[in-house]
């Protein structure tokens, strides 16, 4: 889109929707004011560069988790045509399965299997004893990562078979409500098995602490692992959708499901693949989230879900890039808004940002630029 185009659009906006134009101007001024304030705070020493970098880094790390999980949600949203409220619990489910396997591998022979699989619940086994960090038990962690993806995929496929397959062709709202049922089942089965307590499952791995110009930065090794894995997976999904017919088939399906069948697209297979990619990413995202935070609890995915929705909608449903971009925006907003507002309101700020953006772009930033 050329500059002239943008210009003329801007002028039209001014004429047609003076209210919106005004709001846009206010928005721009607000952003400028925020940056001016940040500069002032940095200048006066109320805030260190190291602090800002730490916040930004945390924002990126969280944003990547949100984005990674968001890609999956976005795909199922656009291809299967419903907002999956159980996505957060696929994340949690994958995380629990993955970490149970990681613990099993790390502690096999030393501790009893039941205690390991229940992540030490009610037993005297703790992450530091098992050394579950990327340096302490790299193989266990790798297998756990794979298990998280595979576990979430298995859960998703089973649920598709039992719940959604008999409902093909029903409208999105019916599916959405069924997905709330799925969310309840998954979340509380996890509680049934693993309880509600917060457990530390990943051991500390330390991190890089470079000092540049007198300011010390901190990048945890687990955070770095997360970033690397997330980026690799995002690129992988991109390549998969670009290079194979699958991507195109998914777009065709999200466009017109009946016609896709008539054209010979094996819709059931595409649906299965959608679940495989979506749930696999969710499971891995959950596993990495836990790796980075160190602790696991039954509600982690659910708590994250609203932020993921915000990211996906902000990016535009159906767009892989939109989900990633949206994830980063939400992650950064959640983390960095603390510079300007009380820390109690950071999450509220992220939601408010989503609502604001929807007012201006009712179908998201990357709307129309669908999968792949």
């Amino acid at each position: 889109m050329g500059i002239a185009d943008n210009y003329s659009r801007g002028r039209r906006l001014l004429v047609e929707r003076p209210g919106q134009a005004l709001a846009a101007v206010v928005g721009v001024l607000l952003v400028l004011a925020l940056f001016a304030d940040l500069a002032a705070k940095l200048g006066s020493g109320a805030l260190g560069v190291g602090d800002v970098v730490l916040l930004a880094w945390r924002g990126v790390v969280n944003g990547l988790v949100i984005g990674l999980a968001g890609v999956g949600l976005s795909m199922t949203y656009s291809i299967l045509n419903f907002a999956n409220f159980a996505h957060g619990d696929y994340i949690t489910g994958g995380a629990f399965v993955g970490w149970a396997v990681a613990w099993l591998v790390a502690g096999l022979g030393e501790y009893d299997i039941g205690s390991l699989l229940s992540l030490g619940l009610g037993a005297d086994v703790y992450a530091p004893q098992l050394g579950t960090s990327i340096f302490g038990a790299p193989l266990a962690l790798l297998l756990g990562l794979v298990a998280a993806g595979v576990g979430a995929i298995a859960i998703a496929l089973l649920i598709d078979k039992l719940v959604y397959e008999p409902m093909r062709g029903q409208d999105g709202i019916a599916l959405l409500i069924a997905s709330i049922g799925v969310a309840f089942i998954l979340r509380y089965l996890i509680v049934f098995v693993w309880g509600t307590s917060v457990t530390s499952v990943a051991d500390e791995a330390g991190g890089l602490r470079p000092t540049v110009g007198g300011v010390t930065f901190s990048f945890g090794y687990h955070e770095l692992t997360l970033v690397v894995c997330a980026v690799v997976l995002m690129v992988g999904v991109h390549v998969l959708l670009q290079r194979t017919k699958l991507g195109k088939a998914m777009r065709a399906m999200s466009d017109n499901q009946d016609l896709a069948r008539v054209t010979g697209i094996p819709t059931e297979r595409v649906i299965k693949w959608t679940w495989i990619i979506g749930a696999g990413l969710a499971g891995v995202a959950g596993y990495l989230l836990i790796l980075e935070a160190g602790t696991i609890a039954y509600s982690r995915g659910w708590i994250l879900l609203l932020l993921i929705f915000a990211a996906v909608i902000l990016g535009g449903i159906g767009s892989v890039y939109g989900a990633i971009f949206g994830g980063l925006v939400i992650g950064l907003a959640d983390s960095m808004s603390i510079i300007w507002i009380p820390s109690d309101f950071t999450k509220a700020a992220a939601f408010a940002l989503m609502i604001l953006i929807l007012l201006f772009r009712p179908s998201g930033l990357f709307a129309g630029r669908t999968t792949a």
């Binding site: 602090d51 730490l54 916040l55 945390r58 969280n62 703790y126 992450a127 530091p128 004893q129 309880g195 509600t196 307590s197 917060v198 457990t199 530390s200 051991d203 500390e204 330390g206 991190g207 010390t216 901190s218 945890g220 989230l289 935070a293 160190g294 602790t295 609890a297 509600s299 982690r300 708590i303 994250l304 983390s335 603390i338 820390s343 109690d344 950071t346």
Partner: protein
Amino acid sequence: TGGGGGGSDNGSDGEETTTGTDSGGSGDGTTTGSDSGGSGGSASRSEPIRYGVLLPTTGDLASVGKPIRDAATLVGKQLQNADMGGLSVEYQEEDTQTSPQAGISAANSLVNAGVPGICGPASSGVNIQVSKQVFIPNGVVGCSPSSTAPSVTDLEDDGFIFRTAPSDALQGQVMAQVANENLGSSTAATMYVNNDYGQLLSESFVSAFEEAGGSVNNQVSFEKEQSSYTSKLQSALGDEPDLLIVIGYPASGIQIFKDFYADFDASNFDVLLTDGMKDPAMQKQVGNPMENVTGTAPAPVGPAADAFAQLYQEEYSREPGVFNAHAYDASAVLVLANAMAGENSGEKVAEMMPEVANPEGTEVTVENLAEGVQMAANGEPVMYQGASSPVDFDDAGDMASVSYDVWKFAPDSESGIEVSETIDFEK
């Protein structure tokens, strides 16, 4: 007589509680209690002595709540196995989920089931609301083992609310003292869980600390069970205080300390915890030896501390933890008071609470509790001497004298906690 479920009368209409014979004993679908019909005992009481246990087994306090619950039910278990000459004890449990809302519902269930006295709730946030909304209006005795907020003292409780845990008004002073004298800190920041317990204890520390000449830079509240506390820590530690106070529960503590050791230079700060995080499992979960962490907590230094620890160990094969002794004491006093009251009436039990606990009478401890119950039922004066303290209630239902431990994590010891010093308070 069959003093059935005539229930708690607020005294407003002064109805007598003699009710029809049909409601006597048999209808209660309960498992516990030895057969009535007495050998020896002169207690002419056919209904069981009832008490409730209202503690968190899920939610934020789940990990410390379960052992406390076990200590509270230990009284019932102990007495059910004992011969009390026709008297029987029965208890009923509910879970507060560490939430005021759920706590109120759960307390209502207990009250509606006709329980006259209840051990619990654990956390002050829940205790204050449950007391206000359920216990006091329904005339039911509440005796919390672990609610320490100073404001509990000031509840307009009509004499129904007791606790075996000491008030944080005292703990705040102890903390300030430890901060000044043991740790030599002159500046501090507090991070506290966003509820009554955290907020009030933080306030109490701050005023004591500032009175002693220290200064507090930041007071940051946090939500329970978040997946990251880095930004909260950053707000608290922004001004580089000497000391960080963390007031909360283990479930949040795990994450707080993981983030603390991962993202900050821990060697620059001392940390002071309170009773809420006195949980050796937390240190094991965090993985760090947590050597820069000190804590304060009410000390279980009652006359019967050892006897209780032994009994607990026998029943559950583990050592008692924080507030466990207090929970045992609370339940024991409730049972004794009920026995002396002679019926399951909240009002009478409330009246008898100081009677059975405070000086004068035969000394009753963990070891001769069953006898003590019989004596109380016969109207003989008794004086309960507890596992956590001598258990003397003052007029507000608080402990008249208490002691505090100063503790550190000791990963290599068996209990995981090492007490370095005990500070006594006598009001």
